[in-house]
C-alpha cells in the first residue's frame, strides 16, 4: 500500500471531524454549483433485488461503495466482498487485558501492597481471585465489542452527505440503497449511473458533499 494513499485516506477521515485543521484532498468530480460529488445512490424496494444488485456492483470492481439496508441481510458481506472484521481479535485482546488487570489488582493489593490475613485464608490461594478475573475479562471484552465496533464504523458521525437525500430517510423503514462513492477509482458519473440503472436501481440520484 502506498504511503500517499494512506495519508489521503487519513486526511479524508479526519476532515469530517476536524474541518478547521484538515482539508480533504481536491475532489475529482464537482457539480455545476461547485460542490464536490459524494457519489451516486440507487434505491431498491425488495431484499432479493438489492442482494443480486450488490453482487453485480462487486463484480464490476468497485471498492468504495455501500449497501444501506433496514436490517442486516444474511450473507450480504459475501455478496459485497467485505473482508471479515478484526473485531474478534480486538475483543480477545481486551479480554486478556481485563484478565491481567484483575490479576494485578488482586495479587498486587492483597499479597504485595498491604498483605493482610483475613479469616485465615492463605496468601497462596488463587481460587478466590477467579470470579473477579472472570468479571473484569468480560467487562473489558464488552467495552471492546461495542466501542471497537463503533470506532471501526467511524461512529459517532452525525453528519453524512447521504442524509441530504430525502428518500434516504426511509432506509430505516423498508427501502434499500446502494451508494457508490466518487472517491472510488472506478467511479465515473455516467458509467456508474448506467450500471446502477442496469442492475435495477430506481430513483438514481447524484449526492453532493455539502459541508
Amino acid at each position: 500500500m502506498d504511503m500517499k494513499k494512506l495519508i489521503d485516506d487519513a486526511k479524508t477521515f479526519g476532515a469530517d471531524y476536524f474541518p478547521m485543521f484538515l482539508r480533504k484532498p481536491a475532489p475529482k468530480f464537482v457539480t455545476e454549483s461547485g460542490n464536490p460529488v459524494f457519489g451516486i445512490v440507487a434505491e431498491f424496494d425488495e431484499t432479493p433485488k438489492v442482494f443480486k444488485a450488490a453482487k453485480k456492483v462487486r463484480d464490476a470492481g468497485y471498492s468504495k461503495w455501500d449497501v444501506h439496508t433496514p436490517f442486516p441481510i444474511h450473507d450480504m458481506e459475501e455478496a459485497m466482498g467485505i473482508k471479515t472484521t478484526k473485531l474478534p481479535l480486538m475483543a480477545g485482546g481486551a479480554a486478556v487485558t481485563g484478565l491481567c488487570i484483575a490479576i494485578l489488582l488482586q495479587w498486587g493489593t492483597t499479597d504485595w501492597l498491604y498483605p493482610t490475613v483475613v479469616q485465615g485464608k492463605p496468601f497462596e490461594a488463587w481460587q478466590p481471585f477467579v470470579p473477579v478475573m472472570f468479571e473484569l475479562a468480560v467487562l473489558f471484552t464488552a467495552f471492546m465489542c461495542i466501542f471497537g465496533m463503533l470506532a471501526l464504523n467511524g461512529l459517532p458521525r452525525f453528519h453524512h452527505p447521504l442524509f441530504s437525500h430525502e428518500r434516504f430517510y426511509r432506509v430505516g423503514n423498508d427501502r434499500f440503497f446502494i451508494a457508490i462513492e466518487a472517491t472510488d477509482p472506478n467511479f465515473d458519473p455516467e458509467k456508474t449511473k448506467k450500471l446502477l440503472e442496469d442492475i435495477g436501481g430506481t430513483d438514481i440520484t447524484l449526492i453532493e458533499d455539502v459541508n
Binding site: F71, I73, M80, Y114, T116
Partner: protein
C-alpha cells in the same frame, strides 16, 4: 383508523377488539377464534412470528407508532401512580439515610432481612433479559426478537432497583465507596477473597454489560425513529407541542419546540449517526454475537456469585453446594415470570401488539417457566434431602424445624407460599390449554413473582433467625419503612418501564424484520 377497510373495522368490533388498530391488517382477525394461527403443533409448519401478513412498513409503523403517538391517558394515569410510589420509595430511602438502619426491623440476630431479600429478588428478575438476548440468540431461537428489547429494558431497571439495596443497607451510606476497589485512609484494600466483593464486581459488570447490550441493540431502531421525525419535519407534517392534561385535550404550548424537533435531537444523539450501512451491519452483527457469547457465562456467573454470599458462610440452610445452579434457575424463572407479567397486559392496551407478540411466544415462555419451575422444585427437594441425608442435625433443623413444619417453624407460611407459588402453579403448563391462555399465564406469572420473593425471604430470614443456640433465636418483623421501601422499589421499576414503553422502540425493529419472510435473499421462501 381512517385507512382501515370497513370490513376490518366490523371484524374488530365483532371479535371484541375495541382498541384502535392504527396499522390495518392484510388478513382480518377472524371473529370468535382464540387461536391466532401460531399454535399449530405440526412440525412441518413454521409458525409466523409476525401476524397479519405485514410489510416492513407496517411493522415500522406499529413499533414506532407507540413512541410517536401523543401520550395516552391511560399511560398518564399509570405513570402518575407509579411515579408517586417511586417518590414514596425515594422518601423512605432518604428517611433511612437520615435516621439510620434502625428504622428497619433488623435486630442482632436477623441482620439481613428485607433489604437483601429485595436485592436478590430484583437481581434475579434482571436475569431474563440477558438470557433472552444472549442464550436464546446463541441457540438461534428466532422468537426471542419479539420480547428481547422489553426484557432487556426490564433487566436494566431491575438491576437498578437491586443496586439500591446493598448501597443503603450498609448503615453509613457515605462509606458505600468502601465497596469499590480503592484503598481506605489506612491504605487497606477491600478483601478480594470475600464473596461480597465478588458480588460488587459481578453486579456492576452485569449492569454495565446489560446496559451496553441494550443500547447497542437500540441504535438502529432509534435511528429509524430519528429518520421518521426528520422526514416529518422536512415535509412539514409535525404536530405542535401539547402539554398532556388529565382531562380533555392537551394544552397547546406554542413556545415549546415541536416533539419531532426534540426527537430529532435526542434520538439523533442516541443513534450516533447510524446510517444502516452493510459494512457497519457486518461489524455490528459480529459485536452482537460476541456480546451474546460473553453474556451467556456472565448471566450464569452473576447469580452464582450472589449465591456465594450465602453458600460460603457456615450458617445451616445457607452452606450448601447446590446454591449456584439453584439460584440461577430461580433467577431465570423469576425473570421470565416478570417479563410475562409485564407484557401480557400490553397485548390488551397497545394496538397491534398481539400481532408481534403472538400466542406462540407466550406458549414458549410458559414452557420455560415450567422447565425452570420444575428445576427450582427439584432444588428445593434436593436441598431438603441432603439436609436429612447429610445427617447434620443443625442443617436438618434449619429445614424441618425452621421452615417446613407448621407446628415448630414460625415462618412455615412463607415456606409453603413459596412451594405453592413456585412449584405447584407452573405445573399447570403441562396442559396445552393452560399455557395457551394468556390470562392463566398471567396469573401463574403473578404467583411466581410472589413466590420468588418468598423464596429469598425463606432462604435469608428463616436461616438466620435461629442460630445454633436457642438463646440467640429472634423473630424478624418488618417495620412500615421496610414495607414501603420495597413497595417504592416496585414503583421505581414500573416508572422506568413505563418511560421505556412510551419513549423508546419497544420491539427490536431491525431484528423483527430479519425474521419476516420478506427479508430472505431468494424468492423461494
Amino acid at each position: 383508523m381512517s385507512d382501515m377497510h370497513p370490513d376490518q373495522t366490523i371484524a374488530l368490533q365483532a371479535s371484541g377488539v375495541t382498541s384502535v388498530q392504527p396499522v390495518a391488517r392484510r388478513v382480518p382477525i377472524i371473529p370468535g377464534t382464540k387461536d391466532d394461527g401460531t399454535l399449530s403443533e405440526d412440525p412441518a409448519l413454521r409458525a409466523p412470528l409476525v401476524l397479519g401478513e405485514r410489510s416492513f412498513d407496517d411493522v415500522t409503523n406499529i413499533v414506532c407508532g407507540y413512541a410517536e403517538a401523543p401520550i395516552p391517558k391511560i399511560w398518564l394515569t399509570a405513570f402518575t401512580i407509579t411515579s408517586s410510589i417511586a417518590a414514596l420509595g425515594t422518601g423512605m430511602i432518604l428517611y433511612l439515610i437520615i435516621t439510620g438502619v434502625g428504622v428497619w426491623g433488623l435486630n442482632n440476630q436477623v441482620d439481613w432481612a428485607w433489604d437483601i431479600t429485595n436485592f436478590v429478588f430484583w437481581i434475579g428478575i434482571g436475569h431474563a433479559g440477558t438470557l433472552i438476548s444472549a442464550i436464546l440468540c446463541l441457540l438461534k431461537q428466532n422468537w426471542r426478537t419479539a420480547v428481547n428489547r422489553a426484557a432487556e429494558a426490564m433487566t436494566i431497571f431491575a438491576v437498578i432497583c437491586a443496586g439500591i439495596f446493598p448501597g443503603i443497607h450498609i448503615g453509613r451510606v457515605w462509606f458505600a465507596w468502601f465497596l469499590a476497589p480503592v484503598p481506605n485512609a489506612n491504605g487497606i484494600w477491600p478483601n478480594f477473597r470475600s464473596p461480597l466483593l465478588w458480588d460488587v464486581f459481578a453486579v456492576s459488570t452485569y449492569a454495565t454489560v446489560s446496559l451496553l447490550f441494550w443500547y447497542m441493540g437500540m441504535i438502529p431502531d432509534v435511528a429509524t425513529l430519528r429518520d421518521r421525525a426528520a422526514l416529518r419535519l422536512h415535509k412539514g407534517v409535525s404536530r405542535g407541542f401539547k402539554m398532556p392534561m388529565p382531562l380533555g385535550d392537551g394544552l397547546p404550548l406554542h413556545f415549546m419546540p415541536k416533539p419531532d424537533q426534540i426527537r430529532v435531537l435526542i434520538y439523533g444523539i442516541m443513534a450516533l449517526g447510524w446510517r444502516f450501512s452493510s459494512r457497519h451491519w457486518h461489524r455490528y452483527e459480529k459485536a452482537y454475537l460476541m456480546l451474546a457469547g460473553i453474556s451467556t457465562p456472565l448471566v450464569l456467573s452473576v447469580h452464582s456469585i450472589v449465591s456465594f454470599d450465602f453458600a460460603t458462610s457456615i450458617i445451616p440452610g445457607w452452606h450448601t453446594t447446590i446454591f449456584p445452579p439453584y439460584f440461577v434457575a430461580g433467577a431465570v424463572f423469576g425473570g421470565f415470570a416478570m417479563v410475562l407479567w409485564l407484557l401480557i397486559p400490553l397485548r390488551m392496551f397497545l394496538p397491534n401488539f398481539s400481532d408481534l407478540l403472538t400466542l406462540r411466544h407466550l406458549e414458549n415462555m410458559a414452557k420455560i417457566l415450567l422447565l425452570t419451575g420444575t428445576m427450582v422444585g427439584f432444588a428445593y427437594s434436593m436441598e431438603f434431602f441432603i439436609a436429612w441425608y447429610g445427617a447434620n442435625e443443625f442443617e436438618f433443623a434449619a429445614f424441618a424445624n425452621n421452615r417446613v413444619n407448621p407446628a415448630k417453624a414460625p415462618y412455615w407460611w412463607a415456606y409453603w407460599t413459596m412451594i405453592i407459588c413456585n412449584v405447584l402453579f407452573p405445573q399447570l403448563f403441562w396442559f396445552r390449554r393452560m399455557r395457551q391462555n394468556p390470562l392463566v399465564i398471567w396469573i401463574v406469572a403473578s404467583a411466581v413473582t410472589v413466590g420468588m420473593w418468598f423464596e429469598r425471604f425463606v432462604i435469608i430470614v428463616t436461616s438466620i433467625h435461629r442460630a445454633f443456640l436457642p438463646g440467640e433465636w429472634h423473630m424478624f418483623f418488618p417495620t412500615w419503612v421496610d414495607i414501603l421501601t420495597f413497595v417504592g422499589s416496585c414503583g421505581i421499576f414500573l416508572t422506568l418501564f413505563l418511560l421505556f414503553l412510551k419513549f423508546l422502540p419497544i420491539f427490536a425493529l431491525s431484528e423483527v424484520k430479519i425474521v419476516m419472510p420478506q427479508s430472505h435473499t431468494d424468492d423461494h421462501h
